[in-house]
């Protein structure tokens, strides 16, 4: 087997302003090997690999590819060296076909291109590795898994021998993940060097030959996978021992808070994003919502919050503590508030929906109640008091409460948003991907906050992507599949495999 060194990085440093993203990192990548780069969010994994792919340029240090020192100043240089990277956010052109995306940026003998030849060659690659891609399909018609497959085909088409995949499984179902892993193993057999950027320990252990661990921008160690286990990896990754257990108190005196019936939402592409969705939510419980991304989670929460057009026949009934009901369909967010319904919502898109990026904490605090009172002018004093409280209680790191929240780190942005929504003393709290982009410690801060709300009798709806967390945190799990409710399971007894299956295959509910 050819185990020669494909890439050597030597003392690579990269800074963004005052932040050091990578601090003198040195490491090797070998052919015929799958290398995992493990680290928490913000540990500099992606930045490091971006320098190999020509997206960023290192401030200091040397890169060697196939034994020669190289300078990679652009993705084009990377291609020339046989390096291809699949980014977490797909680099595809929506209005192009698969084949057009594949030949994008490639030089040919002729100025023109023959799309039939491209289609043929794409098919050959697909046959070899077992991909299922229609070269003539437009990207905007593709599912997430198809887009990812297209990305892989794209770099293989360019003859890449060194493949970097940035958290490829974040958007895949367990079944799709398994398929991807088989493909990667096949490529390893073909002699390719494969780098897997991830923060999931089970993937590391299952797939890779060696693990390189980064922490806070620094290289920690490289361990051969056979001698690694979860405990060793976690310690290296986090630096100190952390408990992996998430608290799950039993619901106390659950009462029906929300009853969703026959909810159907049609999106802009005229596709049913939600199809006849019905379920109940109780006080004092956390209802987890599982599903592969884009299966209606966003629309579900937005529909309850009054931000979606709901097809006729749907109903969202709110039950207050005395059992009185109010219909929320066809009512704007402001009217819902005026009804006295305390509905808090932490949306997925924090800076694009939940907060105003260019404003400071103070002005963001008043986002939902700036219109209180009769004066035509804003009342800032209460907001700045609240901002100060949240800053000190949740340890928000910001130069001042008037610094634009866009400049804060992801974790701090989330604290500001969650802090505001909890401060509104909700009866129902909806969160979408509340810990996305947060490191382990900050994630636990959020889990604890949710559990506190649960203990106070709040009905919590938690949309998440990490099945392990969903299963540890929730009381019940609602599985969405292509806009349908595909079962509501007891989180204490359900198996991960069952949830995974229900995420992909519609199960006929027994009546």
């Amino acid at each position: 087997m050819n185990e020669s060194i494909a890439v050597r990085m030597d003392g690579i440093t990269k800074r963004f302003g005052s932040v050091i993203a990578n601090d003198r990192v040195s490491m090797d990548i070998r052919y015929s090997e799958i290398l995992s780069i493990l680290g928490e969010n913000g540990s500099g994994k992606t930045t490091l690999m971006n320098m190999l792919a020509g997206i960023y340029y290192p401030d200091e240090g040397f890169l060697y590819v196939n034994g020669k020192e190289v300078t990679i100043t652009s993705p084009h240089d990377a291609f020339e060296l046989g390096i291809g990277m699949i980014h977490q956010h797909f680099k595809l052109i929506d209005v192009f076909t698969a084949a057009e995306n594949i030949i994008l940026g490639m030089k040919g003998e002729k100025r023109t291109y023959n799309i039939d030849e491209v289609n043929q060659k794409v098919k050959e690659i697909c046959d070899r590795y077992g991909f299922d891609i229609d070269p003539k399909m437009k990207v905007y018609e593709m599912s997430v898994a198809q887009k990812q497959t297209l990305e892989i085909v794209k770099i293989l088409y360019r003859g890449a021998n060194i493949l970097i995949l940035d958290e490829p499984t974040a958007v895949l179902t367990p079944q799709e993940t398994e398929k991807l892993f088989n493909i990667l193993r096949q490529m390893r057999k073909d002699g390719k060097a494969i780098v897997l950027i991830t923060h999931k320990l089970n993937e590391v252990l299952e797939l890779s030959d060696r693990v390189t661990i980064l922490r806070k921008g620094q290289y920690i160690t490289t361990i051969p996978t056979p001698v690694a286990n979860e405990q060793i990896l976690t310690e290296a990754m986090v630096g100190e021992k952390v408990t992996l257990d998430i608290e799950r108190p039993d619901p106390v005196n659950p009462q029906k808070r929300l009853s969703v019936k026959h909810l159907t939402v049609v999106n802009q592409e005229r596709i049913k994003a939600l199809d006849d969705v019905s379920f109940d939510v109780y006080s004092g419980e956390i209802l987890g919502v599982a599903g592969i991304s884009g299966c209606g989670q966003k629309e579900l929460l937005e529909a309850i919050a009054g931000l979606q057009n709901i097809e006729s026949g749907g109903s969202v009934e709110y039950y207050d503590k005395d059992g009185n009901t109010k219909e929320l369909v066809g009512v704007s967010p402001r009217e819902i508030r005026n009804y006295g319904v305390h509905l808090s919502f932490v949306p997925e898109d924090r800076l694009g929906m939940g907060l105003v990026g260019s404003m400071g904490m103070t002005e963001n605090m008043m986002l939902k109640d700036y219109d209180k009172g009769r004066s035509p002018f804003l009342n800032r004093s209460e907001s700045s008091k609240l901002a100060d409280e949240i800053k000190s209680e949740l340890d928000v790191v910001t130069p001042s409460i008037d610094t634009p929240v866009r400049k804060l780190s992801g974790g701090n942005v989330q604290k500001v948003l969650v802090g505001r929504e909890i401060a509104a003393e909700p009866a129902i709290l909806m969160t979408a991907y509340a810990v996305r982009g947060l490191d382990i410690n900050k994630s636990y801060t959020i889990y604890n906050l949710l559990n506190e709300q649960k203990k106070k009798g709040v009905a919590v709806i938690y949309v998440g992507e990490d099945l392990d967390v969903l299963m540890a945190l929730s009381d019940r799990i609602l599985v969405l599949c292509a806009g349908h409710v595909n079962g509501v399971l007891d989180a204490r007894t359900a198996s991960k495999e069952e949830i995974g299956l229900r995420m992909t295959n519609l199960v006929k509910e027994e009546a």
Partner: protein, 373 residues
């Protein structure tokens, strides 16, 4: 594999000398320092240009410009008048641009405001007390401008119709409307209305302290302060900022986006209509296709460069007005046409636009690490 796998760097290795990094939190004094340097550099290029066509030495050029813009009391008032008009229009544009509604239709809104003002002057100038007439003219011009803006705003909020082109096309519709009425009102077949009510001065803005433009400048000064508080402190100003940042956030906050778009554009276009009233009632006392005179476009630049802060916008309109009046002086000294001022304005603006880069980014020269042994 050979033992020495890692060869020394080749001499031929290309290495970017410099790369660009985003800067955060540039102190205000430094930002303004950079802008001032840009303006000075722009002025130097302008001086070279003027020297090239006039053989004046650069110092004399600026002397002449200074003289033209601020050389006498009447010239100062002329400059103040131009500045007030430009600022008034930019103040109008600021709310809609802050909301990211690209209103390039100020020209048309000014014309329509001016047109209805002129119509009222012609119709009621000799039969109505001037004070009442002025109030009506102001009110109707605001209304007319607002309606002119509401048409594209309605389609924007309803179908997301591209407002840049819509408002642009509305300019030409307004222009043709003005030409139509000029021809109708013109009794001498001269394609001009002439000075309206030159004897009775009906609908003319009164002189204060013997100054034709005092009242107008005062009104715009008040408007500047008012707009500052409207944008910074009012609930409506807050809504504008939220909608401009993200419509999704606005909907999340319970803001009726369509309503805010329409209201804001109505206010914005209304102020532009009012600027048309000022031009007709206080300055020219006539209406023509030249009433707007390109200020609607220059005002966009003022609003943008001032980052929608009315006081910064005041500074920028002062600078641009100074340049254009100064250039006009040189043009008239040397018997050139007035377009020289557009050239100078363009040059200065290019430099200011370019300078923003040095405020937002910095260049980093690569320190090559020590040679690997």
């Amino acid at each position: 594999m050979k033992k020495n796998q890692f060869e020394k760097p080749h001499d031929s290795i290309k290495e970017p000398l410099v790369h660009i990094i985003k800067r955060e939190d540039v102190p205000a004094w430094e930002a303004w320092g950079i802008r001032i340097v840009a303006v000075v550099l722009g002025m130097m290029v302008c001086a070279l240009f003027i020297q090239g066509i006039t053989d004046l030495n650069p110092f004399k050029v600026f002397g002449s410009m200074f003289n033209g813009a601020l050389g006498s009391s009447s010239r100062i008032w002329q400059t103040l008048k131009d500045m007030a008009l430009l600022l008034c229009i930019s103040l109008g544009l600021a709310p809609s641009f802050k909301m990211r509604f690209w209103n390039v239709g100020a020209e048309g809104q000014i014309l329509i405001g001016g047109l209805v003002s002129a119509a009222l002057m012609i119709r009621f100038g000799n039969s109505m007390p001037s004070g009442i007439l002025l109030m009506i003219m102001a009110g109707v011009s605001i209304l007319a401008g607002a309606i002119w803006g509401l048409i594209p705003a309605y389609f924007k909020s309803r179908y997301n119709t591209n407002e840049t082109l819509f408002t642009l096309m509305m300019n030409y519709v307004a222009l043709q409307l003005v030409e139509f009425f000029v021809d109708i009102w013109d009794k001498k077949q001269s394609h001009s209305v002439g000075v309206i009510n030159s004897s009775t001065k009906g609908g003319w803005m009164p002189y204060l302290f013997k100054q034709q433009f005092f009242l107008m400048v005062l009104i715009v000064a008040v408007l500047t302060i008012g707009m500052y508080f409207y944008l910074k402190q009012s609930k409506q100003g807050y809504e504008i900022a939220v909608v401009g940042e993200s419509e999704n956030t606005a909907r999340y906050a319970g803001i009726n986006v369509a309503k805010v778009i329409r209201r804001t554009v109505a206010i914005s276009a209304g102020i532009c209509g009012f600027a048309g009233f000022l031009e007709v009632s206080s300055v020219s006392h006539t209406i023509s296709s030249l009433t707007a005179g390109g200020r609607g476009f220059t005002a966009i630049i003022v609003a943008w460069l001032g980052k929608f802060n009315p006081f910064a916008m005041t500074l920028i309109s002062a600078l641009l007005t100074f340049m254009s009046r100064g250039a006009n002086q040189i043009a008239s000294d040397f018997n050139f046409n007035k377009h020289a001022s557009s050239i100078l304005t363009g040059i200065i603006l290019f430099f200011i636009l370019g300078s923003e880069f040095f405020i937002n980014y910095k260049l980093v020269f690569r320190k090559h690490g020590k040679e690997a042994a």
